[in-house]
Symmetry: C2
Subunit: 389 residues, 2 copies
């Protein structure tokens, strides 16, 4: 075993203690009012499409994020699908997304009948690099009265989707500047960044719309769940309408006025979400302590760095991330093997989206940084409960 | 108030007792192990995409329905969407569905990029009329080596979707015969017909694929949920793969091999489903008693009939249904007004799908029976708990 492997395992042990027998990557915690609210929901019999917990959860999220309107939905993929449709993404359009993201970002674009167009990431934020994007658009796009088109494919470029990777905010001031100059609608994939802030403003509230996920591996969970954030009353109304079969209110008639989805969050899952929201500040306090422990311990280890929150930002440190100084799939996989064998669940970042067969033919910018990050990022155990507080 | 209104209210009172203050159309019941299993699920922390309850729920459904394979998903709309894709429905195809159905049947077709093509219903079953379908296909379709096409639109007709209305099974022998002669793939929308059988065989198991819903208003509920049924191992494997982001199993790599969905049922909702499945036989016993009470009481009332299960079929009597002898929107709405004002929640059937703006331009067969049914059907309170047992 070489030095880096030894140091890496030693670092994990220092932060996490000995695995006994297994430290998961991210585990939820239900130590608050989860049982009570879920039981109350069952007792009410309103477990499904109607019920007070959905409304309550939406209000809690609005208050927490500062978004004016929140629409709870069945998961983060559904949230992004509808947000993109509301942003005007239409079949045959292209949507700019980072090559370094979870596959759901690209899938939501495909669910609109649109085509992902992959953009490079920034070393510091792990998210879309606004400067690289700007340079790229200069040569690959054409602006006209009909909007932005891809000079090579002739397709409309309808939107850009910054994703706040592992909780670290994208450089939003620069991104909004580029979007503004190119007349691009911004939809933020904030699935991973509940409580992450850029210059004090919550991620997901910069774009026309933003989306959250409450999957089991996120900072809070509803089993499965997601939300659409917006400051636009009319978009919020439509988001609710399109995610609830577009039924017009009536005493008894079933009149629906648009092709629509059953994307509503069940009240049962919302009840869990309300209890989780109450815990969120405590989860985040402990997650931040854990991140500080990683930062401190790995500062002294050569060859690998802990990824800290970008300047002007506050990260939720959803998944703590280490970065090899020398990108190497071989070394990355050796460290992953060593850690997972001992019982620390560690993961590489995602396979870059343009390397997946269904997205291999999609347009893309040069991706030098994303390629480096793919060969150097390692996620390490990040549950609030493993922080030694 | 005229005689029919008086008789109708009196009939409801005889069956249901006095509303105190309100008898809902259909209410779930959680008097079994619901809380225990949900609590166990919370305690395990596996509330989301991984967990034993999803597997368990799928096995229970397979045993109950006789389907070889069951894939639990997030709701009935998602189930039908994926079932149609698996049946080979592609953008620009037409799919034959009843005009008399909940909007989700048409939406699932639209979600595939396909076009609903509306078919008439049968008076007895309230579902697709196989004989009318056969006559209609004779003049409107063309068979060739590429399959069936619509002679007027030139589009491929990819599948037919019988829906078992309010639990009453479609005449499946005749329908399968038509499908066979025209080489049409059958996908059953069995959202409303868990436990309904045709000649002893469970609805949803006749077609290549079938789908269920566990929405809050159905015979059992998971908050939100659905399932795909099939006897084909490869289709079942694909259904699971496509509804769970098409991720290839690997110790740590994120490699996905198809555009796919996050349509998995959370383990929390599956835990509720397992407990509900335990109760199902008792729910159905009581629902059948309630239906018998309606049948008996409304036998003596002139001008309105109770819809009984079709020949050779066993209905789950999901929603008990009365039918005016003389179709009349005016009389229907008078009865609805009277009943709802007193506190019996009653509903008309759905607005026929071709009357909704987004489906108004879709192709359709003559719909004389569906038109009559629309002006004559009334759903009356149907919860198992209101049966006077
Ligand atoms: C970046 C990103 N986008 C979208 C999603 C989709 O969210 P969900 O799993 O709730 O559908 C996730 C999380 O899984 C994600 O990490
Ligand atoms: C005929 C029919 N199809 C599809 C669905 C869709 O099911 P879900 O509401 O679970 O999406 C329903 C129930 O709502 C239904 O009644």
């Amino acid at each position: 075993m070489d030095q880096l492997e030894q140091d890496f395992l030693h670092g994990l042990k220092t932060v996490l203690g000995l695995p006994n027998p297994f430290v998961p990557l991210h585990e939820p915690e239900f130590m608050g009012n989860e049982w009570e609210l879920v039981k109350d929901c069952l007792d009410s019999t309103f477990v499904s499409s109607v019920g007070k917990y959905v409304d309550h959860f939406e209000v809690m999220l609005a208050e927490y994020t500062g978004a004016k309107y929140v629409v709870a939905v069945v998961n983060g993929t559904a949230a992004l699908h509808i947000a993109l449709l509301l942003a005007g993404v239409r079949p045959g359009d292209e949507v700019l997304i980072p090559a370094l993201s979870f596959v759901a970002t690209a899938n939501a674009v495909a669910h609109c009948g649109a085509i992902p167009h992959f953009i490079d990431s920034e070393f510091k934020t792990l998210g879309i690099d606004p400067h690289a994007l700007s340079d790229y658009l200069k040569h690959c796009s054409l602006s006209s009265s009909e909007g932005l088109t891809n000079r090579f494919t002739g397709r409309r470029i309808a939107a850009v989707v910054p994703m706040h990777t592992y909780g670290h905010p994208v450089d939003m001031v620069s991104l909004l500047d580029v979007a503004d100059r190119y007349d691009l609608t911004v939809v933020e994939d904030a699935a991973e960044s509940l409580d992450s802030r850029y210059q004090g403003q919550h991620t997901g509230t910069f774009g026309l719309l933003g989306t959250l996920s409450f999957n089991g591996n996120k900072v809070i969970t509803t089993g499965g769940g997601g939300a659409i954030l917006t400051n636009d009353a009319e978009l919020a109304r439509q988001a609710k309408h399109w995610t609830t079969t577009a039924k017009q209110p009536h005493r008894w008639e079933f009149f629906h006025d648009a092709v629509a989805w059953n994307y509503r969050l069940p009240n049962l899952n919302a009840a869990l979400g309300c209890a989780q929201m109450e815990q969120l500040p405590d989860f985040l306090r402990r997650k931040r302590l854990l991140a500080q422990q990683y930062e401190k311990v790995f500062k002294d280890i050569d060859g690998i760095d802990f990824v800290v929150e970008p300047p002007n930002s506050q990260s939720n440190y959803w998944l703590n991330t280490l970065r090899l100084n020398q990108p190497s799939f071989e070394m990355r996989d050796r460290l992953l093997t060593a850690a997972n064998e001992v019982g620390y669940q560690c993961r590489p970042t995602w396979t870059l989206l343009h390397k997946l067969p269904m997205y291999a033919d999609c347009p893309r910018a040069p991706l030098p940084i994303a390629e480096q990050l793919e060969a150097s990022l390692i996620n390490v155990p990040s549950s609030a409960k493993v922080a030694l507080v």
